[in-house]
């Protein structure tokens, strides 16, 4: 048996040591805590949220919960159109969504997948009242009391028993729809008997009551319900057995049932609002994208789309993102290579000149750092444009004809030139710090051993400077691949990067899911390249100083 080492007081040595070190550890943790929190809040959490946003898709099922449920039994391959039940569910979902002004958001979301859905949703939202009026107006004609909110409240509010599950279910529905809290007293609870008798009307009334109480801050007892309650009642009365009911408005309900209160034909009514509802396309889109998570954004990010039959490529004329990814990587490589070519001699000079001259040169290298990025990029715009400095000089020298000035901006050339300039210090500094550690005696030793200047450089100096090149290359490449401002200003249409597309989706098209997917792919690409670099060169060989 292995003997446990004991400290002088008899406790095991390991525990004793751990106790002695604990204080130090806590103190060290305390020192890094502010930074840790800062990084966590400003970096890790936003990135996590971004990654999540690229697959998150709750808006469809939150906005159209009953429609999504009804569509689940619809076989998109066989049936021509979804059933009447689906249209009916769509009506009630859309009605409350329109009141909460959520239907346009959903339209925007679905429009990413199928063009035209945005306006379809927006227009349909306005015309739902017309469908409701099919039942509402006859009901009003039967008895004026139906127009009064108190009648409804008396009918629906709990007397002997409360339908708790309905209340909880509807609280959840409104909460998910409005993305807000719906707990608390709302001065209403659905009556269990009525809820059993008139399930649809009770459901819609409860949802309405929760909505006005929590979102508008009003008392449902004193308000008139939305018109959508009438079609719900009409549908309920088609099957309800009122014989045993003697609660409030019992006679009014019987009268309405006897009068055969008309319910709308939802399929026809929707087709009337917009003929697109009579086609399969919007329904297929909703069904395909009804899951809580979606791969749709990622498929979009690589020029594909999610369809009812699985993945499909975008039409040729809409494929731009893969090209853009390829261009971003290719141009970043070019920029990296030109930085190496331009930076190496400067770094060598910096490391080998006498101190005074080296310091002066270092200041020149660092000078761009002290100038705003925007200013530097704008300066390149001045330099490179057709009436700019470089063209003027070339024309003046006579190398270029005045009517044939070079186009060196708003294309890839412009982006490469200005980004090389901007990123050059990031290449020079790591190379410089590595070269500084290479003693001049190595070159002398090589020469004393018979090597020519070139052999001494190539066989002895260059191999030792590779870690600096590696560090600079990683730095420049990773910075370049995510560059945004410079390509935006001098890149025109041919010289933009994927990050410009991300920015477009963040700020203009508001397709954050796609932006997040593009960003995620970029992040993964960088990580893969980093991994590959580690495998080939070895990250241990990278030195930043």
């Amino acid at each position: 048996m292995a003997e446990v080492m004991l400290a002088a007081d008899g406790t095991p040595l390991k525990r004793s040591l751990a106790r002695a070190l604990r204080r130090q550890k806590i103190r060290a943790l305390g020192l890094i805590a502010p930074l840790l929190l800062f990084v966590l809040i400003t970096f890790i959490i936003p990135i996590g949220s971004m990654l999540f946003r690229s697959v998150e898709n709750e808006i469809v099922s939150n906005t159209l919960p009953y429609t999504v449920q009804a569509l689940s039994s619809w076989d998109a391959e066989q049936d021509a159109l979804p059933s009447e039940d689906t249209f009916q569910a769509m009506f009630f979902d859309m009605f409350i969504a329109a009141e909460a002004k959520r239907h346009t958001r959903l339209g925007t979301r679905l429009n990413y997948e199928t063009t035209g859905l945005s306006s379809l949703f927006r227009q349909s939202g306005r015309k739902l009242d017309d469908i409701a009026d099919v039942s509402y107006e006859p009901l009003e004609d039967l008895d004026k009391a139906w127009d009064d909110g108190e009648t409804w409240y008396a009918l629906m509010n709990a007397r002997d028993g409360t339908d708790e599950s309905l209340l909880a279910e509807q609280r959840g529905r409104v909460a998910r729809l409005t993305d807000s809290e719906t707990l608390g007293d709302i001065n209403f609870a659905p009556d269990a008997e009525v809820a059993a008798l008139l399930p649809l009307a009770a459901r819609e009334y409860t949802a309405w009551a929760i909505y006005v109480a929590t979102q508008d801050g009003r008392d449902p007892a004193a308000r008139d319900p939305w018109e959508a309650i009438a079609p719900a009642l009409a549908l309920d009365l088609q099957t309800a057995d009122l014989s045993g009911y003697d609660g409030p408005a019992a006679d009014m309900l019987r009268a309405a049932q006897d009068a055969n209160l008309p319910a709308p034909d939802f399929t026809a009514a929707f087709a009337e609002i917009d003929e697109d509802w009579g086609k399969r396309v919007p329904w297929e889109t909703i069904k395909t994208h009804s899951g809580k998570f979606t791969s749709g954004y990622f498929l979009n990010a690589v020029d594909a789309q999610k369809t009812a039959d699985g993945m499909a490529w975008q039409p040729e004329n809409k494929q731009i993102l893969i090209t853009l990814f390829g261009r971003t990587i290719w141009m970043s490589m070019l920029i990296m290579c030109s930085c190496i070519l331009l930076g190496y001699p400067i770094a060598w000079l910096l490391a080998n000149l006498p101190m005074r001259q080296a310091n002066l040169l270092l200041i020149l290298v660092l000078l761009p750092f002290w100038t705003s990025l925007l200013v530097r990029t704008s300066a390149w715009k001045v330099m490179l444009q057709q009436q700019g400095v470089i063209n003027d000089v070339l024309v003046w020298i006579g190398l270029v004809a005045d009517d044939n000035r070079l186009i060196i901006i708003n294309n890839q050339f412009g982006t490469i030139v200005s980004m090389t300039h901007i990123l050059l210090p990031f290449m020079i500094l790591p190379m410089y710090s590595v070269m500084q550690t290479i003693q001049p005696t190595y070159l002398r030793a090589a020469k004393s051993l018979g090597a020519t200047n070139w052999t001494a450089f190539w066989r002895v100096y260059f191999p030792q400077s590779i870690p600096g090149i590696g560090a600079g290359s990683i730095l420049v490449f990773i910075l370049a691949i995510g560059y945004y401002i410079t390509p935006e200003i001098v890149g025109g249409t041919k010289g933009v990067f994927i990050s410009n597309r991300i920015a477009y989706h963040i700020s203009s098209s508001l397709n954050w899911g796609l932006a997040a997917a593009l960003g995620t792919i970029l992040l993964v690409a960088v990580l893969i390249l980093y991994w590959a670099y580690d495998k080939i060169v070895g990250i241990d060989n990278v030195k930043l100083g």
Partner: protein, 366 residues
């Protein structure tokens, strides 16, 4: 005579001067000639110009004036890589990205020597420094002493006739240094290589060299075999720099041939041997080695002058005793006595008489 000297000389500096800034001369009028196979050490304090001389010989610095010849041929305009001189650097300068074997085969590769012969030579060179087992290692995996052996092997692998060493043992601890000193001299003599060795460590210079050139202020102060250098320093700088030395200031009182009498600053008289003093009344610095001071009057010449001394400190150093005395107003006069059974251990405060043989006391420039 001059012609034969030039013919025999393998390495020759003739009136060489070097200036970096155009205002100060780092090397002033250097003349030096070395026969083949000699082990010559350039010794001197830092800034004395010894390393500059070595660099000029290696070709990394150009002489501002004068001629450097190798085997009779002026090499002023030959670039370093064509001089064929092996060199060992202070920090070894082993290429860190190559293995030991690759380091050694580098000079052979640039000389376009075939692979088989290269391997043979590399193994032979590693054998010379007993490092055959380390061929596959990187320099960073070796200790300082091992690295220096490899550096030595690399400088020898292409069989140069002249090897330069720039303080090669400076970074090593004492014991290792002594072992390597012995190994370097053995190799140099066995292979018959002409060696120029630069150091600021006088023990190293004395133990290793055939001849030592003591540098100061851009000049060779004395060029002589180690024993001559120690026992017969030509001026007070050499006397001070090599070994321990007592100095007393005075004026020549009498001078006759090989002996002179010096009146010290406190008025007492002593015997000395005039080295670079010539006339009576000249100011002089007399120099005497601590181990040549005699306390036993019977062992001196009967008419020898003696000095009164007061013992200030007695230091027991094992093999010797070191006693610090106050002599003629100077508080740091040191004598060394052998730790023999009959040796007296002087007590601080004791008054004694000291003297020396006139030959051991050298009257030098002030």
């Amino acid at each position: 005579m001059a012609d034969t000297a030039t013919d025999q000389a393998f390495v020759e500096f003739e009136r060489v001067q070097k200036s970096y800034d155009g205002e100060n001369l780092v090397v002033k009028d250097l003349n030096l000639s070395m026969p083949k196979g000699e082990f010559l050490t350039m010794l001197g304090p830092s800034g004395s110009g010894k390393t500059t001389c070595l660099m000029m010989l290696a070709g990394f610095e150009t002489a501002t004036h004068g001629d450097i010849r190798l085997d009779g041929v002026s090499i002023n305009n030959i670039p370093p890589h064509k001089r064929g001189i092996g060199m060992v650097f202070q920090n070894y300068a082993l290429f860190p990205h190559m293995t030991v074997a690759e380091n050694l085969s580098f000079p052979l590769e640039v000389r376009k020597i075939g692979k088989d012969e290269r391997e043979k030579k590399v193994m032979r060179a590693l054998g010379m420094v007993q490092m055959q087992d380390f061929a596959g290692r990187r320099p960073a995996q070796l200790s300082g002493g091992q690295q220096q052996r490899i550096a030595l092997a690399r400088a020898l692998v292409f069989e140069p006739e002249l090897v330069l060493m720039d303080e090669p043992l400076g970074a090593l601890d004492k014991q290792l240094r002594e072992t390597l000193q012995f190994e370097i001299t053995r190799l140099a003599h066995d292979l018959g290589i002409t060696t120029v060795y630069v150091t600021h460590d006088q023990t190293e210079a004395l133990t290793m060299s055939d001849r030592v050139a003591v540098f100061d202020d851009g000049r060779i102060q004395q060029l002589a075999p180690p024993d001559t250098l120690y026992e017969e320093p030509q001026n007070s700088f050499v006397a001070q720099f090599i070994g321990e030395n007592n100095t007393l200031m005075g004026v020549i009182d009498e001078i006759a041939g090989e002996t002179c009498v010096v009146r010290l600053d406190d008025g007492s008289l002593i015997d000395a041997k005039p080295i670079n003093v010539t006339e009576k009344g000249q100011r002089t610095r007399v120099s005497i080695r601590p181990e040549r001071v005699e306390m036993d009057k019977t062992r001196l010449n009967p008419d020898a002058h003696t000095l009164k001394a007061e013992v200030l400190e007695f230091i027991y150093m094992g093999d010797i005793f070191r006693t610090r005395l106050r002599v003629a107003g100077s508080d740091d006069f040191v004598i060394k006595t052998r730790n023999a059974p009959d040796q007296i251990r002087l007590q601080p405060g004791a008054q004694i008489d000291i003297g020396w043989m006139p030959n051991d006391c050298r009257a030098l420039d002030a």
